[in-house]
């Protein structure tokens, strides 16, 4: 009754031919290249691997062949191409699209007490009637926001300085909650504020209403105060006190900080990072300023070449890794977003690096005057009298009209890097995004010209740098990167992370 056993040859092993599945590749160095498929599975291999693979000169009996097959770069007669598996992985990578627009930014006022050099939009004005969102506009905006098919929506209050319109916020919040409950939506609320005008009453209100705070901290005093002039030149001191006060009232995890990199910042990555560590932040986002609005106009003061930013970024990243190895928890947000795309099967919810681009698809901005923009950058352009990306107005246009209008459609046409010249064949396409608003602003064309695109240059360099880290095969680095991705403490990732730099 006993059954026979058959040799491995009965199950394949050295097929005579194979078929390719879609993939792209890029040289990382003289010795190595990276192959990436449509769902972000990658292989760092010797130079020439992609050539051998495509020219069918690969040894089908080799380990490399099995690896390429398991990662779905090819298939052969020994097993099915498993396209359903690939499809599921693709769907997972694009799951940020599920539900459509999630982030809804309300510009409740343009007024601000600061006069930052790089700010695109703010007004030093006491004229409430001119620069505040009216209640009627807020109501129309909420109605449009709740038309989003998304089950989970985020309402973000921006400005200007939104706390200068705190009374309006207090009118909007209960109405938003009521509408969300009626529509069966989960609602998150965030307020982006410099905190300078935050009273204890306001902070207690945010605590009671479960509203998160995102504030600005550009680094130590000499950088922060230089970047963010205000009467009294005390922005830094106010920010530090107010972060502490906000944490005391709301809880540490409810208060996040964002930094903007200016020309002055570029020489001080270590000092900026130390400031974040000193204040017990677990994350820092090394962000370049966007080339819009006042930032474009005042380039002589704050603008800089992308190379200088990349030098700053890499020094910063290296310093953070050194701190991590000493057991200090700090993650760099931009790297974490890209690493999540490379190292995990999941997608990210970050709207500024996705394909289709986030503008409109994932974000809508409701300006104080009722105009609806595809993104924060789009409304900044509008303040520069370029209204290309104004999708409509809450008083005049329906949700349907906004998303079927010419403005949105022309934006959408340039929103998929799968189809953009220079992106379609790029190995990093699954990890990158499209940014038609940026390319319109800098190159006068939503499609853009990749060889001269700062967006492309920045992301190519950063992704290459990250592949350099991944490719080291350094267990400590791997643990650190996954600690970031998983929001875990470095110290909970196992015993072997070294304790000296």
């Amino acid at each position: 009754m006993a059954r026979s056993f058959y040799s491995i040859e009965s199950y394949g092993g050295k097929p005579e031919s194979y078929n390719l599945l879609p993939f792209r590749f890029l040289a990382l160095s003289d010795r190595r290249e990276v192959l990436v498929n449509d769902v972000g599975d990658y292989l760092i291999a010797e130079r020439g691997t992609a050539r051998a693979l495509s020219q069918r000169t690969l040894d089908t009996g080799s380990d490399l062949y099995q690896t390429l097959k398991a990662k779905q770069f090819l298939y052969d007669a020994d097993s099915a191409p498993l396209l359903d598996i690939l499809a599921t992985k693709y769907r997972t990578k694009k799951s940020f699209l599920k539900g459509f627009t999630k982030l809804h930014i309300f510009v409740v006022t343009l007024r601000c007490d600061h006069s930052c050099h790089y700010c695109q939009v703010s007004r030093q004005s006491a004229d409430r009637s001119k620069y505040d969102m009216t209640l009627s506009t807020a109501r129309r905006s909420l109605a449009m926001m709740m038309r989003s098919p998304s089950k989970a929506v985020t309402l973000e209050f921006q400005g200007g300085e939104p706390l200068l319109a705190f009374d309006r916020i207090k009118e909007i919040v209960p109405r938003a909650k009521e509408l969300a409950a009626t529509m069966g939506k989960d609602l998150d609320i965030v307020v982006v504020t410099n905190l300078a005008n935050a009273t204890d009453d306001m902070l207690r209100y945010f605590r009671d209403e479960h509203i998160k705070i995102s504030t600005s901290l550009d680094g130590p005093a000499f950088i922060h105060n230089a970047n963010r002039p205000r009467p009294g030149n005390n922005s830094y001191e106010l920010t530090i006190q107010n972060i502490q006060r906000a944490r005391d009232i709301l809880g540490v995890n409810q208060v996040a900080a964002l930094m903007t990199t200016t020309r002055l910042s570029l020489d001080y990555p270590v000092e900026i990072i130390d400031e974040y560590v000193r204040l017990n932040f677990r994350s820092i986002f090394l962000r370049p300023i966007s080339p819009y609005g006042f930032a474009v106009k005042s380039r002589h003061r704050t603008g800089y070449e992308m190379d200088r930013f990349l030098g700053f970024y890499q020094r910063g990243l290296d310093y953070i890794l050194t701190l991590n190895k000493q057991g200090v928890d700090l993650q760099e947000v931009y790297a974490k977003i890209i690493l999540t795309k490379i190292l995990t099967p999941y997608s990210t919810g970050y709207v500024d690096l996705q394909s289709p681009a986030g503008a409109g698809v994932s974000v809508l901005v409701y300006n104080y005057d009722g105009d609806v923009y595809a993104s924060d950058e789009a409304r900044m352009l509008a303040e520069m009298h370029d209204t290309t990306f104004r999708l409509g107005n809450v008083h005049r246009d329906s949700h349907h009209a906004v998303f079927t209008g010419d403005a949105f459609r022309s934006l959408l046409a340039a929103s998929c890097n799968e189809t953009l010249p220079g992106c379609a064949e790029c190995a990093f396409q699954p990890y990158c995004g499209a940014d038609p608003v940026f390319h319109h602003a800098t190159q006068g064309d939503v499609f853009g010209h990749r060889p001269t695109s700062a967006f492309c240059y920045k992301n190519m360099e950063i992704i290459k740098y990250l592949f350099g880290l991944i490719g080291r095969g350094d267990r400590d680095i791997d643990r650190i990167l996954f600690a970031w991705i998983r929001n875990q403490s470095i110290n909970d990732m196992g015993d072997r992370v070294t304790t000296c730099g």
């Binding site: 058959y6 491995i8 009965s10 199950y11 020994d78 097993s79 995990t344």
Partner: protein, 383 residues
């Protein structure tokens, strides 16, 4: 034998009130009992000889297995089955054991080189299903954990679904683990029917031995098995069925173990657990020792890499069936005492080991087939 169908009942070795006998099997000497004391049971298992008690047996008219050599291992509350024809008595359930199972069939559509329970091509589904349904009815509701095993349980199809529904009704709070090769779940209709019948606390244990289809198919001795299991895993995920992936460690699965770990994370990040399991030297394994055996001390690098890949990515990973003296210390915290009590042994050299309490020991069948590197730790700190 005086009965034609299997009799399943609870062991009663002591006197039982009249009205509480109908689901019980009387175990013990007949000679010392009166007819009244023995009436109304579901069956009788006795060391007494039939010819010495012929009149009483006639009067009782119960299924009886007689002239049994010894009955001392039966305890009150055990659930046993009396087999017709052969007269075998098999224990199905012990209330005090953490390792109870429902054995579903001896048939299998794979034929793994290292199978510990080699399949038999006979039609036993109906017989086992009847026994298991009765077993489920009799089991105390306090049973914490049950394994559904075989053979390949999914081959039973509708009968499996009946078993699952019975479990769901009778033992909804019991943790149920079903061992299956997962191949049939590649068919969406099968998966849907399965999900209709599913038990609320069921986890499936599904083996995947390589990220290479050739390697996996060879190990399980079935063409297309890799494709079917991989698609099946995704079908199950679609229905949110919790799944554990089980990898048996041997000379054929070790070479690509780190690649398999990465493959599992990229393709099945939803699995609730990954078990990396030492070889059980029983069933087919001794026969295929030449192609399967690798001393665990030789695969520590690969094992450590695989565990690191899974743990770093937040996957829940364990090592089963390994002895601590063979495991790299960094892996100790992943080792579990996984071997069922009734087949778990320690060697002579283990007796003086200071970490014996923490160690999962060996399979009984490993007494003759184990690493020569097994040794005692003489103090805890050397470990």
């Amino acid at each position: 034998m005086n009965f034609g169908a299997a009799v399943v009942g609870k062991v009663a070795t002591r006197a039982v009130p009249d009205d509480d006998r109908s689901d019980k099997i009387l175990v013990g000497l007949l000679d010392e009992r009166s007819t009244d004391e023995s009436r109304g049971f579901r069956g009788v298992i006795t060391t007494s000889r039939a010819q010495d008690n012929a009149a009483m047996i006639d009067t009782l008219a119960l299924p009886i297995v007689h002239s049994v050599r010894e009955v001392d291992h039966f305890r009150d509350g055990d659930i046993v089955v009396m087999q017709p024809k052969s007269g075998f008595v098999r224990t199905l359930h012990r209330p005090d054991s953490p390792h109870n199972s429902l054995f579903m069939t001896e048939r299998c559509n794979s034929n793994c080189l290292m199978c510990s329970q080699p399949p038999k091509d006979k039609d036993d589904a109906e017989q086992f299903t009847d026994i298991n349904l009765e077993l489920i009815r009799l089991m105390p509701s306090t049973v914490n954990f049950l394994t559904i095993t075989g053979g390949e349980p999914t081959l039973l199809r509708n009968r499996l679904f009946r078993i699952l529904r019975a479990l769901r009704e009778t033992l909804p709070n019991t943790d149920v683990h079903m061992l299956t090769n997962g191949r049939l779940f590649a068919w969406p209709t099968f998966t849907r029917d399965f999900v209709d019948a599913i038990h609320p606390r069921l986890v499936l244990g599904i083996p995947l031995y390589s990220d290479s289809s050739t390697s996996h198919d060879y190990i399980v001795q079935a063409k297309q098995a890799f494709d079917q299991t991989v698609v099946g895993l995704h079908q199950l995920a679609r229905h949110n069925v919790p799944v554990e992936i089980r990898v048996v460690l041997h000379r054929l699965s070790i070479p690509r173990l780190p690649q398999l770990a990465e493959y599992i994370y990229r393709n099945f990040p939803f699995v609730v657990h990954v078990a990396l399991m030492g070889l059980e030297p029983t069933g087919y394994t001794p026969r295929n020792k030449e192609i399967l055996w690798i001393d665990p001390v030789e695969y520590q690098d690969k094992l450590e890499d695989a565990v690191e890949i899974l743990a770093t990515r937040g996957m829940n990973v364990s090592i089963y069936n390994s002895q601590l003296c063979l495991l790299r210390p960094s892996l100790w915290k992943f080792a579990r005492k996984s071997i069922s009590d009734w087949k778990n042994i320690y060697l002579q050299e283990c007796q003086e080991c200071k970490v014996l309490e923490q160690c999962g020991g060996l399979f009984q069948s490993a007494e003759k087939m184990h690493s020569p590197h097994i040794r005692a730790f003489h103090d805890r700190t050397s470990a």
